[in-house]
Amino acid sequence: MFHKEKSIQIKNSASALYNNLSVLRIAPRKLTYFTVVHANVVNMVSASWDGLNYSHRQLQSKEPNVATSTSLIMQASFCVLPSRDLLVVTSQKGIQMYESDGSIMVYWHALDTPETPTAQAVFARGISAVWDNYICVGVSSGSILVFDIPTKGSNITLSEVLEEHKASITDMASECSGSQECIADMVSADDGGNLCVWKAGEEFHLLNKISGFDMTCSCVKLWKGTVAAGYGTGQIRLYEAVTGILHVEINAHARWINSLDIAPFSGLLLSAAEDSLVRVWHMSLTPETNSVEVTHLHNECVTDTQICGARFCDDDGYAFAVTGYDLSEIIRYTQT
């Protein structure tokens, strides 16, 4: 169903983090951007669709105007809004937002870091573009920062802080910006496995909380009102976002799941874990009967590698890319 393509070499190896790959498809310029985090550096590659041109860039995590003070990066993710695309980088010190090509930093938000380190680590993790004009970022305390993004320029402001989670945020996801009507706009997940479902707006509104039974949910996606959640136990669960009804439970992987992605036009689901396996599934929703079905389509094994990132490269799921711990390449697969 899928076959391996030529890999893209990157300057450093990928670090063992959740969701350690972000992809942005720039159709007008026939380019795709990839970002992979290595310790305190974001490796960006711009790949032309004809496979002939690759250009690399590295972004460091540090406060602007400070010579030193680097901190480890937890996540880098492209945020697609109707008016603009931004690259958001979260670290131990704060949140940086760049133009999507990584050329200019447009915003810096510092986290409250204590003078002497505390037992509870401080970092930001979990990034999602929400609705037309918000970017939400999670924090280790469980807070979610909601940033209001203007259509252009750097006048980004902190609009709201959502305090619902008690454990560190792991991942966040959204659907429905602009035209579509959705009940649930965003879902957030934490270390305790708890999921919160939100409605976006000037004030975000909590629609539902889904309990996690103390097993960390490391990745989460939202599609057609369904939450797809990947857990440290290797399970994937599909819930109806607003009601919390469990539709599907999959014993998907033999190790911790580090990445989930959905191709919205085709309903393909991609899961990747520390067991070296990437799996492709198909989800189908029947609104009349309020039922969800899942079938397993394909496995890819990346030998001797703990996978830390997997993303579809397009909305149909025609191609996907994978990163692994200690691996200095982005492995790509396309449909046969």
């Binding site: 190896s13 670090s15 063992a16 290595h38 310790a39 010579a67 030193t68 480890l72 002497t116 380190p117 505390t118 037992a119 509870q120 680590a121 970092f123 454990a167 560190s168 792991t170 934490d190 270390d191 305790g192 103390d214 097993m215 960390t216 490391s218 440290g232 136990t233 290797g234 399970q235 009804i245 469990l246 539709h247 599907v248 439970e249 999959i250 014993n251 998907a252 992987h253 033999a254 190790r255 911790w256 067991d275 070296s276 396996l277 309020n290 039922s291 969800v292 079905e293 899942v294 079938t295 397993h296 496995n299 094994c301 030998t303 001797d304 590698t305 703990q306 711990y325 200690d326 200095s328």
Partner: protein, 380 residues
């Protein structure tokens, strides 16, 4: 990232070091009383109360350089001497062994069981010395108190922090290659078979539920591996069966401890460039070193003929050859600090601090940190 990683890193690396030294002491037929003294001295220093107080404070992980310096000092805490090449090899083996254990743990919380395996073995080394044993027991209790309440997500953060520390290290270890747990390119074999972790189901089942919570359909899929059910959970108590073998002693007198240096750096661009200018140690790192030195007794070489050298290689020639042929990118660039107390230690550290403030670009306000540290040293 996680501020609770350092104690686990230190104890596990220390444990591996003790396994290797124990094996070499026996392979070289060092008299039993001398060997025992070395093991006891090192363990006693490792579990020195003041040192552990510093270690257990919530903090970021130390740099590779700082940690290597700590273990250099620790290895020389007794009458045993190691040449540079042997110390390099010892450290390579320690780090690759723990990297292997961290990667192969089926779930992040098992890293604690690996640590307990090391602790159990350390207790066995000093079982005839009640005072040292009680130091170790006290630390064991502290580990249990701090780590057992942590969530799986927090353990995963600790694991991710450790993996950043071990990133890009692919030194080939002979015993791993022989056992086929490491490939010839230095990467570890990650099997897609064997027991799943405790708390995980064997992959292969899709369950579909109705809105009322009843299971309406079951589908199977091929998981691409050969998995078996999880084993029972290991014990997190002070005594108990840890179940996992990771962290137990894999060396014995008959299994030599070699590392292979040639061909390790397949693509030298992948290895982090080692800076030749002295890297400023953070205040915390210097603090730890100071505490460690404060806790050391002075062991002068040749004192009553009790000092002796241990070789991690089979012959002296091999050892010398290893030192000369070590690839540049694998040199640790240790800061050498003499093992003498008070005045000399103060002077040595002052000198190092002085070197750092001159190197300009890397050090953030070193001078104020230096003052604090020297004040602290005076109090030792």
């Amino acid at each position: 990232m996680s501020t609770r990683t350092l104690p686990l890193l230190f104890i596990n690396l220390g444990g591996e070091m003790l396994y290797i030294l124990d094996q070499r002491l026996r392979a070289q037929n060092i008299p039993a009383d001398k060997a025992k003294k070395v093991m006891n001295d090192i363990i006693s220093t490792m579990f020195n109360k003041k040192f552990l107080e510093e270690l257990f404070k919530p903090q970021e992980l130390y740099s590779k350089k700082a940690l290597r310096t700590v273990f250099d000092r620790l290895a020389h805490a007794s009458i045993m001497r190691l040449n540079q090449a042997s110390m390099d090899k010892l450290y390579d083996l320690m780090t690759m062994a723990f990297k292997y254990q961290v990667l192969l743990c089926t779930r992040p919380k098992d890293i604690l069981l690996v640590s307990f395996n090391h602790m159990d073995a350390i207790k066995d080394f000093v079982k005839d010395s009640p005072s040292i044993l009680s130091q170790v027991d006290e630390t064991f209790r502290q580990l249990i108190e701090i780590y057992t309440p942590l969530s799986s997500g927090e353990f995963q953060l600790i694991r991710q922090t450790l993996l950043i520390f071990f990133q890009d290290m692919h030194i080939r270890v002979s015993i791993f290659l022989k056992d086929k747990v490491q490939n010839s390119n230095g990467r570890f074999v990650l099997p897609t078979s064997g027991p799943v972790p405790y708390g995980t189901q064997i992959p292969g089942l899709i369950r579909i539920f109705s809105c009322t919570g009843e299971e309406v359909n079951r589908l199977q899929f091929t998981n691409g591996g050969n998995y078996t059910s999880a084993l029972r959970e290991g014990s997190f108590e002070i005594f108990g069966d840890r179940v996992t073998k990771l962290g137990t002693n894999m060396y014995s007198v008959c299994r030599p401890v070699e590392t292979l240096m040639s061909g390790t750096s397949k693509n030298s661009a992948q290895h982090p460039k080692v800076s030749t200018t002295p890297n400023p140690l953070a205040k915390e790192e210097l603090n730890l070193l100071a505490r460690l030195m404060g806790g050391l007794e002075v062991h002068k070489a040749g004192k009553g003929g009790s000092a002796f050298r241990v070789n991690l290689f089979n012959t002296d020639e091999e050892e010398e050859e290893a030192l000369l042929s070590r690839p540049d990118e694998l040199c640790y660039g240790i800061i050498s600090i003499q093992a003498t107390k008070d005045q000399q230690a103060n002077a040595e550290l002052t000198k190092i601090m002085g070197e750092f403030s001159e190197s300009g670009d890397q050090s953030p306000s070193v001078s104020s940190k230096g003052d604090d540290l020297l004040a602290m040293m005076d109090g030792l």
